[in-house]
């Protein structure tokens, strides 16, 4: 009997020892020269994760989320990571295709769940259920060239500046003879539609409204039309934007960095181009919350976006999903995170650059991690930039406006981008007719077919 029990115990232990490890596919940045240090940092994190979690083996996949090619192909081939970071606009699409799983069960038992600003989860709440954990967020705001403002005697943006102040500044800062524009908006690609929505929100308008789970185009309102009129006037009445207005995301920062524009809108990484490629002194770059639109509905508003951490719906089995959650929460908002920031600063210093990005934290202000990270950035002024003073950091969250919950990328790239281009190319375009027609098309061609699937 004793012998039988010993054999059974040995078999049980052997099953545990020789059990197949859980294979977890995790993302590392795409293999490009500029991502080298990020990849190294991620690989080091994977090593520590595996050491802390024997039984889980990570398979690193070079992957940055995009909604066109790479992600779809990898999903089809079952090669996409089990954990990935989609944009804030992707929740409805990913949930509708069962590409992500609900996370409420995991979040409710997480010791850091209360560290977050509760609104930070909103972009990835679908049907009252959380499907993502905020990773890196941004709230768009204005960058301005302090020297150019001082040279022209233009008062710097204040905490309650308005569209009127913004236009006056743009006009005064413009210098056609030198090819300097007052303001460089994004005029090309999906980013032009994305940037245009900032002004729709500032005017008190919306891009979509939701009713009983169905989405309706809302940018045919008077408020949204006033944003279109502003864009048209910036081009044709004030001539305050670059003559070559067809600029994408990187182009506007090239223009700002080469001092061909005095103001530009940024979320987080644009200033990296300005400071590290064009060697602009960070002290010369001012930041301000967005101007307030006209009328009683006008507000200071900028798009709240970023990326979220999600678990792939194709992750096979509970063991892999549990491992994915462990990876998501591993070293999140702890000293290892700070060590990563420290290594980024050291990297920048050795390359004679700055860790310049402004990563708005989804955590509550005053939370331990936020305070420590700020101190770390301030302690390294030669290689890191701590953006914004206390007043700016207090005001910024109040300007946050979430992105359209349904088909946002379609709205940006296929409809609002066309609006921006029409406003900048046709002096005689009627902004009201343009916005109404575009809203009607967006409703009929995109939202109605999606609404038809809502039960």
């Amino acid at each position: 009997m004793k012998r039988i029990l010993l054999v059974l115990l040995a078999a049980f232990l052997a099953a545990g020892v020789f059990a197949d490890p859980v294979i977890l596919k995790v993302p590392v940045p795409r293999d490009t020269p500029e991502n080298k240090s990020r990849i190294q940092a991620e690989m080091a994190k994977i090593t520590r994760f595996q050491a802390a979690n024997p039984g889980i083996v990570c398979q690193a996949i070079n992957f940055d989320y995009d909604n066109t090619g790479d992600f779809l192909v990898k999903q089809a081939a079952q090669q996409a990571p089990d954990v990935f970071q989609p944009w804030a606009t992707e929740a409805q699409m990913l949930v509708s295709k069962r590409w992500i799983i609900p996370l409420d069960g995991y979040i409710s038992t997480w010791d850091k769940k209360d560290w977050y600003n509760k609104d930070a989860y909103l972009p990835f709440v679908v049907g009252g259920t959380r499907y993502g954990v905020p990773d890196q967020n941004y709230i768009k705001h204005v960058l301005y060239n302090k020297e150019m403002f001082a040279a022209k005697g233009v008062p710097v943006p204040s905490a309650d500046w308005t569209w009127e102040d913004f236009v006056k500044a743009a006009v005064k800062l413009m210098d056609k003879a030198s090819g300097v524009a007052g303001f460089a908006p994004m005029g090309k690609g999906a980013e032009s539609g994305w940037g245009f929505t900032d002004f729709i929100y500032q005017a008190g308008g919306e891009v979509e409204r939701m009713e009983n789970g169905r989405a309706f185009a809302a940018f045919d309102s008077e408020e949204a039309i006033s944003a279109a009129k502003l864009f048209k006037d910036l081009k044709w009445k004030y001539d305050a934007i670059p003559a070559n207005w067809a600029n994408g995301w990187g182009d506007v920062f090239n223009i700002f960095g080469s001092k061909q524009a005095a103001m530009v809108l940024d979320a987080d990484w644009g200033r990296n181009i300005i400071i590290n490629n064009f060697k602009m002194d960070p002290k010369n770059i001012g930041i301000a919350i967005m101007p307030k639109g006209p009328g009683s509905k006008g507000r200071h508003a900028g798009v709240l976006g970023g990326t979220f951490l999600v678990i792939n719906g194709l992750a096979k089995g509970k063991a892999v999903q549990d491992a994915a959650w462990k990876y998501i929460t591993f070293e999140r908002w702890d000293d290892a995170n700070l060590a990563l920031v420290q290594s980024q600063i050291a990297d920048s210093r050795s390359n004679h650059q700055f860790r310049a990005q402004f990563q708005y934290s989804p955590l509550l202000p005053g939370s331990p991690y936020v305070v420590k990270e700020r101190k770390l950035l301030e302690a390294n002024p030669d290689a890191a930039v701590a953006w914004g003073d206390a007043a700016f950091l207090a005001a910024l969250p109040r300007t946050a406006h979430t992105e359209p919950p349904v088909a946002a990328q379609d709205a940006y790239g296929k409809y609002l981008a066309n609006v921006v281009q029409a406003l900048f190319t046709d002096q005689n375009v009627d902004p009201a007719a343009l916005m109404k027609d575009t809203a009607r098309k967006f409703q009929a061609e995109v939202l109605d077919p999606l609404n038809a699937k809502v039960k």
Binding site: K97, R98, K188, N244, N247, L314, Q421, E445, P449
Partner: protein, 221 residues
């Protein structure tokens, strides 16, 4: 007996078929199989990563009721029309020009054929930058003669022409070479006779030589 005859007939073609086998496999795997699979996909709902679900005619019904369909059809006809017009006229003109060249014809023939050899992705990346409104090659060249920057791919009025140029540029070299072959079949004494009769360049080609190459033109169009 009949079986033996069939075998003998088969063995006659065996070597040729064996030579063709690799090409058949490649075409089958990378062309015919995807076409057949796409045909069946028409009747399925497919979410990448999950098994396709059979849904019958729902996709076709959705397309027929899509408000974008009429515009898509118009765009298709416009694109095809432009490509045919450019793809027919430009190679003929190029072939005539190359035929007239006395020195360096081989070099120019190779030069017009090079675009045919460029992979599609490289081709579109090149043209995307040629058409770039701010720093693109085309606008820079036009700027030298005082023409303001154009939007090309960003302009609703210019985009179709831009896309047609991109598509036809890649293929005009091959068509040009084929037209040149057709023109080379025309008796050169006809050209000399026309010149001796006092016919000018256009008369030579339009009245005399092009009509005699209509067979190859009709095949290529």
């Amino acid at each position: 007996m009949a079986e033996g005859q069939a075998l003998r007939a088969w063995s006659k073609y065996r070597t040729g078929l064996l030579f063709l086998l690799p090409a058949i496999v490649v075409f089958a795997v990378f062309l015919w199989y995807p076409i057949i699979q796409n045909f069946f996909l028409t009747f399925q709902s497919y979410v990448p990563g999950f098994e396709p679900q059979w849904i019958g005619l729902q996709n076709l019904t959705a397309v027929l009721h899509d408000p974008k369909l009429p515009r898509a059809i118009v765009n298709t006809f416009e694109f095809v029309g432009l490509c045919l017009a450019i793809g027919f006229a430009v190679p003929i003109v190029s072939a005539i020009a190359l035929t007239e060249v006395r020195r360096g014809r081989g070099f120019f023939r190779l030069a017009v054929y090079v675009p045919n050899m460029i992979p599609g992705i490289a081709l579109y990346i090149i043209w995307r930058w040629v058409f770039e409104p701010n720093v693109g090659l085309l606008n820079q060249a036009l700027g030298l003669v005082g023409v303001p920057h154009q939007l090309w791919l960003l302009s609703p009025r210019q985009v179709m022409l831009s896309l047609s140029l991109m598509s036809t540029w890649a293929n005009f070299g091959g068509t040009t070479v084929l037209y040149m072959a057709g023109l080379s079949n025309v008796n050169p004494e006809l050209y000399e006779a026309a010149e001796l009769e006092g016919a000018g360049f256009f008369s030579c080609w339009c009245s005399s030589l092009l009509p005699r190459s209509r067979f190859s033109r009709s095949r290529l169009s």
